[in-house]
Amino acid sequence: MANYKLDITKEHCPMTFVKTKIELAKLKQGDTLEVLLTEGEPLENVPRSSTEQGFKVLSISEAEVKGTHLVVIQK
């Protein structure tokens, strides 16, 4: 099982979702993707849309930089 990382803190809509979707598409069963993202729309929608697409959100935690969060998603 592989663990991938993605930083979308510098991205804006729609590339926040586009880059996450492209990375999620690379996952094999059991692989995880750690997405570092900002508060607001990315934090609200990346976990929700990932769940809707059949992925499992393992955790959402505050990251080191204020206003950023780490979302761990598993296929």
């Binding site: 804006h12 729609p14 979702f17 586009v18 979707k21 929608n45 849309s49 809707e52 697409q53």
Partner: protein, 167 residues
């Protein structure tokens, strides 16, 4: 594509956009909505008609695309994705490059990046048969990602059950 061949999955969320305008800003809206929707799990259909066809020409600059004299003149004046004007304050074609600069500076995807993302995300590109006929555009003038040339009835069937926008 025949209407009878279209199989719709009632459980899938769907967005269909009629891309009528060849303007830089309106095409940016089309591809922003399309890629955003595809990225969060929607099936997305883009139906390019009239000036919207400029966005999916292989030749992105000004060129004599089209069969016949008048279509070629239109082709030269309208051009493709790289020569799309903005709908307001175009300033003789300077504004799109100012927008591209501002988009890069603010780390926002440019129109060209959004189009590439749309291809990667598997968004369905369709072209309008009637507009292609008027403008003398052949399927070979369009990017290979264009899945099919459609009429209204087939597009409506594809869009059935989802959300539809006209831009």
């Amino acid at each position: 594509m025949a209407i009878s061949e279209i199989k719709l999955d009632p459980g899938t969320k769907k967005l269909s956009i009629i891309s009528f305008s060849g303007d830089f800003d309106k095409l940016t809206a089309v591809f922003t909505l399309a890629t955003g929707a595809a990225a969060v799990g929607y099936d997305v259909n883009l139906f390019f008609t009239f000036w919207g066809l400029d966005a999916i020409k292989i030749k992105q600059g000004r060129s004599a695309v089209g069969k016949g004299f008048l279509p070629k003149v239109f082709g030269i004046f309208m051009g493709g994705l790289k020569s799309a004007p903005v709908s307001r304050l175009n300033f003789g074609g300077i504004s799109p490059n100012i927008f591209r600069y501002l988009m890069r500076k603010n780390n926002v995807a440019t129109l060209e990046e959004l189009v590439e993302a749309a291809k990667v995300l598997g968004i369905n590109f369709y072209a309008c048969e009637m507009a292609m006929h008027i403008l003398g555009i052949q399927k070979s003038d369009l990017i290979p990602e264009v899945k099919d040339i459609l009429g209204v009835a087939t597009f409506l069937k594809l869009a059935d059950g989802g959300q539809t926008l006209f831009i």
